[in-house]
């Protein structure tokens, strides 16, 4: 990778990150996507919008989130110092609210009166329902029937927050199917509806917009680690479904070429079994949900269902900027299995008194390897992007415990 390549500003005017991204939507949605792009361009340049964001991030979300030296995990792995960026401490329990807040404020600015969203683990659904409640907007969340079953606490939370949760039974009833149905809703209710996409995917400007809203994670982490350790970390690590928490952490570090950026995809039952959600490790470039990116697909271009124990990672694609960072070699992408995530979930809970969501538990599995690889002089920042309260039923079920 050349220096200039890593430092170029993406996306370009067509919403491309190198050969990835773009705007692949039905014509009915094109004018809406263009309208959104215009509104987003304007909002970004408006100091009032930024000030409004900062105020809510501070007072409502609880930012900046802490950075925490995970001493016992570091000791356990026996290598580098591991710092956790505590985005699980945000209001609603994950990084998702950073983005929801931004998009809902933008929706208000655009005069939209109805919010829709898709959700996998339910964290994005909860965060969207929360912000919609705060601003008095009706909210409809599309959620796969399979995911509704495995994330019951979040379904109940969304309903309490006043959102309508629509079960999606098409396909495998997971995140991609929820996204299909959200797009079907948007194409039908074009005038009043704002679609809050939860990850760095979808048609331009979503991957850019979501990255910008999430990049607060990396900006804070970079300043915090400099303050605490007096130097940049050797590596930043985050789990990846669509990739919003990873992009949020990575973005501020992309120009720091000595900082390794490591994304951890969900290997499910193992990449070789075919039952996984690792789009970069096991997919190839294609077009779905508005963007060109790596996708799990068969030899006819039909999308293959992803598998992961974590509903938040159970998606057959990945944000286009990750596809780009992968292809130019600026970021490394590895994976962790269901079993590894379950083991890390328990380890982190016992050693640090932090119950991680199953999603960042995937990242932790590779943090362990990396800590040993880097040795005691090493320094790692991992995004603890969500807390595991939502997963306790699934974990109990896995451990054969009735609660």
């Amino acid at each position: 990778m050349s220096t200039s390549e890593a430092k170029r500003i993406w996306p370009d005017a067509k919403g491309r990150f190198g050969a990835f991204g773009g705007r692949f939507v039905a014509e009915t949605l094109m004018p809406l996507v263009l309208e959104l792009e215009g509104a987003w361009d304007e909002a970004q340049r408006d100091p009032q919008f930024t000030a409004q964001m900062d105020e809510y991030l501070r007072d409502y979300v609880g930012r900046p989130s802490a950075i925490y030296f995970a001493e016992r995990l570091s000791e356990h792995f026996g290598g580098a110092k591991i710092w956790l960026k505590r985005d699980e401490l945000n209001h609603t329990g994950s990084h998702k609210i950073n983005n929801c807040l931004g998009q809902v404020l933008l929706a208000k600015r655009m005069g939209k009166t109805r919010i829709i969203a898709e959700t996998g683990a339910g964290q994005h659904g909860v965060a969207t329902a929360t912000v919609a409640a705060r601003f008095g907007l009706p909210c409809v969340v599309f959620m796969g029937a399979t995911d509704i079953e495995r994330q019951k606490p979040n379904v109940f939370r969304m309903k309490m927050l006043g959102a309508e949760v629509v079960p999606v039974t098409s396909g495998t009833g997971t995140l991609k199917d929820a996204m299909n149905d959200a797009l079907r809703d948007w194409v039908t209710n074009v005038d009043e509806t704002f679609y809050v996409i939860g990850t760095v995917a979808g048609p331009h400007p979503y991957p850019h917009m979501v990255r910008e809203f999430q990049s607060v994670i990396g900006r804070e982490a970079r300043a915090q680690i400099l303050e605490r350790e007096g130097r940049l970390p050797d590596a930043c690590v985050a789990c990846i479904g669509g990739g919003s928490n990873a992009m949020g952490l990575f973005h501020a570090f992309v120009p720091d070429e000595n900082v390794r950026l490591i994304g951890v995809e969900a290997a499910g039952k193992g990449i070789k079994t075919g039952q996984h959600a690792a789009s970069l490790a096991g997919g190839e470039p294609g077009v779905l949900h508005g963007n060109r990116t790596y996708l799990l697909q068969d030899d006819d271009g039909q999308i293959i269902d992803a598998h992961s124990i974590s509903a938040g990672l159970d998606y057959p694609g990945i944000g286009p900027e990750h596809a780009y960072l992968h292809d130019i070699g600026r970021a490394e992408y590895v994976s962790a299995t269901d079993e590894e995530a379950l083991e890390m979930f328990q380890l982190c809970t016992k050693l640090e008194g932090i119950i991680p969501a199953l999603e960042p538990a995937h990242a932790l599995a590779r943090v362990g390897d990396l800590a040993r690889e880097l040795g005691p002089q090493g320094l790692i920042v991992m995004n603890m992007c969500g807390r595991g309260d939502k997963d306790v039923f699934a974990i109990a079920n896995h451990l054969g415990v009735k609660i």
Binding site: F24, A26, E27, N180, V190, G286, V287, L288, G301, Q302
Partner: protein, 271 residues
Amino acid sequence: MTVTGAARLEARFAALAAQDRAAFVAYVMGGDPGLGKSAQLLDGLPGAGTDIIELGMPFSDPMADGGAIQAAALRSLNAGVRTNDVLKMAAKFRRTDTQTPMIVMGYYNPVHHMGCEAFAKACHASGIDGAIIVDLPPEEDAPLRDAFEEYGLALIRLATPTTDDQRLPTVVANTRGFVYYVSVAGVTGAAVPDADPVQKAVARIRAASGLPVAVGFGVRTPQKAAQIALSADAVVVGSAIVDAMARNGIKEALDLTRSLSDAVHTARQQA
């Protein structure tokens, strides 16, 4: 001499315009519920008054389609049908029918996977005259457009109720054959369009493009088809035929096609 590709569409529209008749376009899902029955249905369409055939290519994630066509795509995929099988079925049809224009409709990923050039070549070889790729807007369709031009195929664009005057020129530029007007904002087979706004939209698109305008999405009954046929150059029915096929089989689907095409063909005489 038999014309092919975009020219076959143009010839059919010219012939119908000379008779002051709108065209009836039937959409069927390729390979639904399996290749055998799907081929039988396809073969029966011209005899049931279909002027132009729109052949669906199944996709696992049909974001712009409503329940009927989603289900049809899944039946087709579950029967093991893939894009190449649909093109082969089209080629077989073309051996006995050189007159009826036939376009394919589908989503971009299978095309992208095959490669635009290979897809255009395969369409040409299979007697396909054009394509509608739902999730490929003008801003992104240059690779396919170039490949289609090379083979004389029509890349047909969609105009919708959200396509305003500012955007319309972008949509109709480089379109060949006809423009497909999506009459309601929504998925296929959902809401029913009102005739009045449709008439205005058709006039606007015809003026901007100089091309025939086909109207689809939400037209299910002969009455509605006839109403639309008064102003549109073509009326497309998909979900209703796909539904009839799923519920009652080929004969019912062709009976419905016949009643729809009759209504479209006689609409202007009876008005």
